[in-house]
């Protein structure tokens, strides 16, 4: 049981990080970045490529995270900003961010080939006994990093001017820019942070998935589920809670129902959660319900 919970938390931390990455960019721009999973893949591929070239794995990790940030910023500049500039409430980003995902994924497949490549183990080869459970160092690292990043993110959001600016832009971009906030800079920063989070998720899970250009979609989807069941559209932190819950439930389903249950069980959870609390489990209010501003005349 303890084993299930702990390994669930470890994989859940990765889902949660991707979910938070989705939620952070959504928080500021009201755009769901369909390329989020691909950002994670970019980090994984870069780490694998640099290690394969004979450099230190840690150098690879740093380069991978930087690349994930850069590609995230690129996704904003190419696929999001032009759409929102044309019409802030348009849904064109559904198409453009997916297009961006397709481009990134297939460039990776073209450069590195469609097969899986080796990924440095980092802390994967260390095993740690906790009570009756056995975890790898990588799994413990995932849980620790997730907790650390979540706390840090929340501190920045609530206690720095930059975080408050993000909150202001999230609730009313026009008002925020009227009082002098540079919405573009904050949005770029949010996308960079989302790329960083996705990249970190990639580095954490890389040793067990290996490096494959097509793993972006799977993790993007799980990250999306984490965000939705947690309620991360309102509070990015809720996405992490959703991810941890999702991880434990999926591990539990694998152990208790059958070994393939984690293929469909998360979707069942998602549907049930959406039916009963469309706002998500850990959220206070759902901004999706008030996406279009209410004209004054209706007041």
């Amino acid at each position: 049981m303890l084993q299930i919970v702990l390994s669930g938390l470890a994989i859940g931390a990765v889902y949660g990080l991707v979910g938070m990455a989705l939620a952070i960019s959504f928080y500021v721009t009201r755009v769901i970045n369909f390329a989020q999973g691909q950002l994670m893949m970019v980090a994984i591929m870069i780490v694998a490529a640099i290690t394969a070239a004979g450099y230190s794995a840690w150098l690879g990790v740093i380069a991978g995270l930087i690349c994930a940030c850069l590609v995230a910023i690129l996704s904003y500049v190419i696929a999001v900003r032009p759409i929102l500039a044309f019409d802030r409430f348009s849904f064109g980003w559904l198409v453009s961010t997916l297009g961006f995902a397709v481009v990134v994924e297939n460039i990776a497949a073209y450069i590195w080939g469609p097969t899986s490549r080796a990924f440095p183990p980092i802390l994967h080869h260390i095993s740690i006994h906790i009570g009756s459970a056995v975890l790898t160092g990588q799994q413990l690292l995932a849980i620790a990093v997730a907790v650390l990043l979540t706390v840090a993110f929340e501190l920045v959001r609530k206690h720095t001017l930059f975080g408050k600016l993000g909150m202001a832009i999230a609730s009313d971009p026009e008002m925020a820019s009227a009082i002098g906030a540079n919405t573009a800079v904050v949005a770029i920063a949010a996308f960079a942070v989302s790329g960083l989070f996705a990249g970190i998720a990639g580095v954490l899970i890389g040793p067990s998935t290996f490096a494959n250009p097509y793993l972006g979609n799977t993790f993007g989807t799980y990250g999306f589920i984490a965000m939705m069941i947690g309620g991360g559209t309102e509070k990015p932190v809720a996405a992490m809670l959703g991810g941890l819950l999702l991880g434990v439930l999926a591990e539990g389903a694998n152990a208790l129902i059958d070994s393939q249950a984690s293929d469909w069980f998360p979707f069942l959870v998602l549907v049930v959660v959406l039916i009963f609390t469309p706002k998500g489990l850990f959220s206070s209010g759902n901004p999706l319900l008030r996406l279009r501003p209410v004209p004054m005349a209706q007041r």
């Binding site: 039916i275 759902n286 319900l289 005349a297 007041r299």
Partner: protein, 630 residues
């Protein structure tokens, strides 16, 4: 097609007749050409055929998405899910139970439509992104089911049925499945263009862009949204039925990326156009066959092109073509029309009283104004209304209001005193925390805004709620929605039905006359996005008057009007009163309002200070203090 319709919306139906006639024969020619094309497709090689037919099936899917996304602004990512329902139902029933696939067509229609109603009813209470996400999850779940269930044979999928051959006498026609697919696409096109040329089209757009306006015109917006979504789901289901005949049905063909690709199709081709979705479908499906390079580079190019298309040409191919042709033709004829409406609008208008054939008069057997007993009847009554927004202080505290039939009842008070809130409560947009509202003696507390509109209560909005891309007269048509029985039933075949053509001409005449009477006659063919604020107000007024309501609530009708326009407005309102229409008017311009009113209620900080005649209100010391500013 766009141009043809605006032309036929002119006031007098007679000169429009040849245009309509010409348009219809052009339509017949196009259909004939399409059938000839189908004949050649049915004779062609298998390779060409599969390319064209897959494009056609996706054309149907794209049209089905455009019905909801283009006309109602509901970005469904569930089309791949409904597509899967159709394909899997057909393939499983044919493979496991050996059912004749033709019997399955109605089953597929019904099942997909029911799924659409279910998804729609659960997610359409709120539009926007929440709808997109719910439908997205629907597609995700269906793909997972198709992958993991035994009956769908997992990722391998299963072989669909083969299409029965033509009888010998028809064999010269070629491949039967080609005929079925192409004719299904033709029907989908005709359905979409039928709806676009029917009076339902402005109603749908008003639900998309100005839902409060649609509801205030008596449109049951939620029911229509769910209905159109069910229709769209059924079309996607039929596309799946057809697709099952093409060979293997497997989960990868229906995942969420397919839903998004269908969205790419309509955005690339041109959203809310008839032919655009098909152009997009042809582009997306034929792209891999035409661009024959390294598969990864081909995907990269496809992704890049779709980003480029959506960022550089957000209106799609058809939108771009339309803009190019407009630029050429706009130069000369528009300038003449442009110079005319700039004068004072009131000057050239025909007052209601001089034009009895127009709006308010037809057959309305209303109570004569000012005649004894009827004058005493209370037509709108509010008792003990309490209301507050969210956690804030109460905006209305125990407000009573009684409006008598045939009266003009003014509602004045400082900003924030609760006038518009009270109007919204009477119209049904807001639910009071306590108190009851009765309209025409009927307790209306449970009635939606559209229900109250159908009782004969109409309202205008402080900030005009109109569809900016439609002309003023098309906006007025929305106001006539409740007066055309069977509008929705007939919408798909509107221009083919004699009754549709007759009603269409009547509707256009009514709308034009109402605009003339309101004093916006010079702006009939102009899009609302091009007209000044005052004309928007007059268009609102026309769309309300055209329905011949018994009660009208006017929320600051004189805002944005010039002095002569205000005078004209006063004449219109007096004319309406003479016909027995009851009016509740919120207004700050007391010089305009007071002479019109039988009774005036003064609100201050959510409480009624006084209800009395204009003279007494003007004389009251408290009113002078809180409102008139002394």
């Amino acid at each position: 097609m766009e141009g043809g319709r605006t032309k036929s919306f002119r006031a007098d139906a007679l000169p429009a007749a040849p245009v309509a006639c010409w348009k219809r024969s052009a339509g017949y020619v196009a259909v004939a050409a399409y059938l000839v094309l189908t004949f050649f497709v049915a004779q062609s090689s298998l390779g060409v055929q599969s390319l064209v037919l897959v494009a056609a099936v996706f054309g149907i899917l794209a049209i089905s998405l455009d019905l909801v996304a283009g006309m109602l602004g509901l970005y469904s990512l569930g089309q791949a899910g409904f597509f899967a329902i159709g394909a899997y139902l057909t393939a499983i029933a044919a493979a496991d139970y050996e059912v004749n696939p033709f019997y399955l067509l109605p089953v597929v229609l019904v099942v997909a439509a029911l799924a659409g109603i279910l998804i729609g009813a659960t997610s359409l209470r709120v539009s926007g992104l929440y709808f997109a996400i719910t439908t997205f999850v629907f597609t995700l779940v269906l793909t997972v089911l198709a992958t993991d269930l035994k009956i769908t044979r997992g990722t391998q999928g299963l072989l669909g049925p083969t299409f029965p051959d033509f009888p010998e006498s028809l064999e010269f026609l070629g491949t039967p499945v080609a005929w079925f697919v192409m004719i299904a696409l033709l029907l989908a096109l005709l359905l979409a263009s039928g709806i676009r040329s029917s009076p339902l089209y402005p109603v749908l757009l008003s639900i998309r862009d100005a839902e409060p306006f649609a509801q205030a015109a008596g449109v049951r917006t939620s029911a229509i949204k769910i209905g159109v979504f069910a229709l769209s789901a059924a079309m996607a289901g039929v596309a799946g039925w057809l697709f099952a005949f093409f060979g293997v049905v497997s989960p990868g063909q229906f995942d969420w990326a397919v839903s998004l690709n269908i969205l790419v199709m309509i955005l690339v081709g041109g959203i809310n156009t008839t032919i655009g979705p098909v152009i997009g479908a042809v582009f997306v499906t034929m792209f891999p066959a035409v661009v024959n390079i390294n598969p990864w580079l081909q995907e990269v190019l496809y992704g890049a092109l779709s980003i480029l298309a959506i960022t550089v040409f957000p209106e799609g191919v058809v939108g771009l073509a339309k803009r190019l042709t407009l630029k050429q033709s706009k130069e000369s004829p528009q300038t003449a029309a442009h110079s005319k409406p700039h004068g004072p609008i009131g000057g050239e208008a025909v007052p209601f009283s001089k034009k009895p054939a127009s709006v308010v008069s037809t057959g309305e057997v209303s109570v004569d104004a000012g005649t004894g007993a009827a004058d005493k009847e209370v037509i709108v009554e509010c008792r003990g209304i309490v209301f507050g927004y969210g956690q804030g202080p109460k905006v209305l505290r125990n407000v009573d209001l009684a409006v008598k039939r045939g009266h003009i009842h003014g509602l004045i008070g400082p900003n924030g005193s609760g006038k518009s809130t009270l109007a919204n409560i009477i119209a049904g947009r807001l639910r009071p925390h306590a108190g009851t509202t009765a309209v025409k003696g009927i307790v209306a507390d449970g009635l939606s805004p559209s229900g109250r509109a159908r009782l004969g209560l109409r309202r205008t909005f402080q900030a005009a709620q109109l569809v900016r891309e439609l002309t003023t007269s098309q906006n007025v048509l929305v106001g006539l929605y409740t007066r055309v029985p069977g509008l929705i039933r007939r919408a798909a075949f509107w221009s083919l039905l004699p009754s549709g053509r007759r009603d269409g001409a009547w509707l256009q005449a009514q709308a034009s006359a109402a605009l003339q009477a309101a004093g916006a006659g010079g702006w009939i063919d102009r899009q609302v996005r091009d007209v000044p604020h005052g004309v928007e107000q007059l268009t609102q007024l026309a769309s309300v008057c055209v329905a011949e309501p018994e009660i009208i609530i006017l929320d600051e009708p004189a805002t944005g009007l010039s002095a002569p326009e205000v005078e004209h407005l006063a004449r219109i309102l007096s004319g309406l009163k003479a016909r027995g229409v009851t009016m509740i008017i919120i207004e700050h311009q007391t010089r305009f309002l007071f002479p019109l009113c039988d009774q005036i209620t003064v609100l201050n900080a959510g409480e009624v200070i006084l209800t009395s005649t204009a003279d007494k209100v003007r004389a009251d010391p408290l009113v002078r203090q809180v409102y008139l500013g002394e």
